[in-house]
Amino acid sequence: MSGAEKIAVRVSDIIPLTDLVTRFEFKPINGELLPTFSGGAHTVVEMQDGDTIRRNPYSLMSDPFDQSTYTISVRRDDEGRGGSLFMHTQVSVGDEMTISNPVNLFSLDLRARKHLMIAGGIGITPFLAQIKQLDRAHANWELHYASRNAALGSYVSELTTQHPNDVNIYYDEEKQAIDLDNLLEGQPLGTHLYVCGPKGMINWVRGTADRLGWASEVVHYEEFLAPQPGERFQVELAISNKMIYVGENESLLEAIEAAGVDAPYLCRGGACGQCETNVVSFDGEFLHSDHWLDDDEKASGEKIMPCVSRFNGKTLVLER
């Protein structure tokens, strides 16, 4: 139910890049080739954190044609539930880990005459793979990359060295900002716009593009929501006839999996819709955090996305 075979890999290199971001490289254990993928794809990394298995999605940033190595970058989140901290503090070179087949929810539109990319912070990673893919096809692209300061600008020197004419860097602390209105006004017909970064940046870029008359079909964005911690709650799984508890630092999906119940998923970030679960009955309040369900569905109390959403109340019974 939860998809294709997993891939067994060994951590072949760990490279700290900035105070917050570390790069991890994986090589296959069985000696076979890793699957190729398309720029913008992510993999879900499984982490055995004590009794809990954490599964976090990370964009693949290596060359999509390179079947010997996958590379991801992990930004340490000291306030999060612990997945990125686990990667930063518990994982060593030589460790064996399990990752998923690549899944792409942020695909290039290959019809585009030009690909205009806007990245904020760690949102740079999917673009690194897309740029390698586009360069191979001799396609036209341009990147605008905003970071807090030079010390936190992962891959800035690599990008500006290799692509001096196509990469533009902005440091927030030096009051450098993307002149978005002018940038969007000056684009040739057939340009597609891509944005990946913090929620505020995505909303700003989408809102500006909309105001300037860009069709929604040519504006692409990827925003992974990290599941947020919250209060412990209890859930009844009607089909499997199990009562489970969702801990403070655990997602509902993780708690379902920990109970030995196979549940479908792809992105684990509230975006793809794969884990949508029917609610049988409830007495309490939903804490919906996904951007899959529309407002009516969220208000209906009939569905929940267990990868990121939580519940507060007396009883919740799910069709799972």
Partner: protein, 352 residues
């Protein structure tokens, strides 16, 4: 495995025939005694040994003759193969998928030798031994999709995924059940399924699209579809309806067993890794009524399915006028006995 390839035709004198092996492994599509649309998809990851489900791309005794027929259709009508410019990468994806699958699944028939981007492809049944540069179209005699699908049974729809939809942006279609790539090219999933009766009302396509959008790399799927065709004709296209439509009126009570064919499509779908597209191979299997009834369970069941099929579906599938004659023939092979669940023949029950 040793396949003896038939020397046969799918036109004019219609020398197409199924061996006992081909009859036994025919993908009979009805798991119960009646039929209605359903989202009948399952994983395409192997199947019973010798069945058409076992390999990623099934090769059978009709392979060489089918490829000869495809070449003739393309020579008459080049628009049966089209690829919009942004689909070239998906074409390379498909070439890679088929070459890797066939060389692994049928090592005695196909070989793939890779050294970086320098590839050598050996297709023994068709006598092909080509060296080329992967991702360099100028080193192949056709574009990558056309090159490999001239060597692979079944039609192929190459779908681009964007805007939460699938788009028919490339394909090769010469063995189709009355639909046209030239008409459908560039359409989205709902547009190209618009003519299908009843299924829209049942929400089939909304659910099917949702499923297909989430097909993952490494987790292909499959389903069956079916219709009826008079004569073993692969190319039942709208473009050539004036040639084959008239053949439907050539059925008589004496020849219906030989001339009426059940046409089954094994539809598979694979996520394409480099382009994030989806490929939808549609493989056609044909079997005459007189060959079907050699499997008693299939004869009984087909009679009941055809008899009880809603008029809309019999009309859409194009055999409403011939249904009485087909039923007269099949009824002789339906003694009213119970049939076992599932599609497979049951030899032990059927000895008597």
């Amino acid at each position: 495995m040793n396949i003896k390839f038939n020397d046969e035709t799918f036109r004019d004198d219609y020398t197409f025939h199924n061996s006992d092996w081909a009859i036994q492994r025919f993908p009979f599509p009805f798991h119960e005694d009646h039929y209605m649309y359903a989202v009948n998809m399952e994983q395409h990851r192997g199947g019973p040994e010798g069945s058409v489900y076992e390999k990623r791309f099934d090769v059978d005794e009709h392979y060489v003759a089918e490829m000869r027929d495809r070449a003739m259709v393309l020579a008459d009508d080049p628009l049966r193969c089209q690829s919009l410019p942004h689909m070239e990468l998906a074409g390379w994806d498909l070439l890679e998928l088929i070459m890797v699958s066939k060389s692994e699944d049928y090592p005695d028939l196909f070989e793939l030798h890779r050294n970086g981007d320098h590839w050598r492809w050996v297709n023994k049944p068709l006598g092909i031994d080509d060296s080329f540069t992967f991702m360099d179209e100028t080193t192949l005699p056709y574009g990558p999709m056309e090159y490999i699908t001239r060597q692979t049974q079944g039609d192929f729809a190459l779908l681009d995924q964007r805007e939460e939809n699938l788009w028919m942006d490339a394909g090769i279609v010469t063995t189709q059940a009355d639909w046209s790539l030239d008409f459908d090219i560039g359409m989205n999933f709902f547009e190209w399924h618009a003519p299908v009766p009843l299924a829209h009302e049942k929400g089939i396509f909304v659910r099917a699209l949702k499923f297909l959008l989430n097909v993952q790399q490494g987790a292909p799927g499959r389903r069956l579809n079916w219709t009826m065709t008079v004569n073993p004709l692969l190319d039942t296209s709208p473009e050539n309806y004036h040639k084959w439509g008239i053949q439907k009126s050539s059925l008589t009570p004496d020849n219906v067993g030989q001339k009426q064919y059940l046409r089954v499509e094994l539809q598979t779908f694979f996520r394409l890794p480099r382009s994030n597209g989806l490929v939808f191979p549609i493989r056609c299997y044909l079997i005459s009524l007189e060959d079907i009834v050699t499997i008693p369970k299939w004869g009984r069941r087909l009679h009941r399915v055809i008899r009880d099929l809603p008029v809309e579906l019999a009309t859409y599938k194009g055999f409403i006028d011939n249904r009485p004659m087909i039923l007269d023939y099949l009824s002789k092979f339906d003694d009213g006995s119970e049939t076992s669940p599932g599609v497979w023949p049951d030899p032990q029950l059927e000895k008597g």
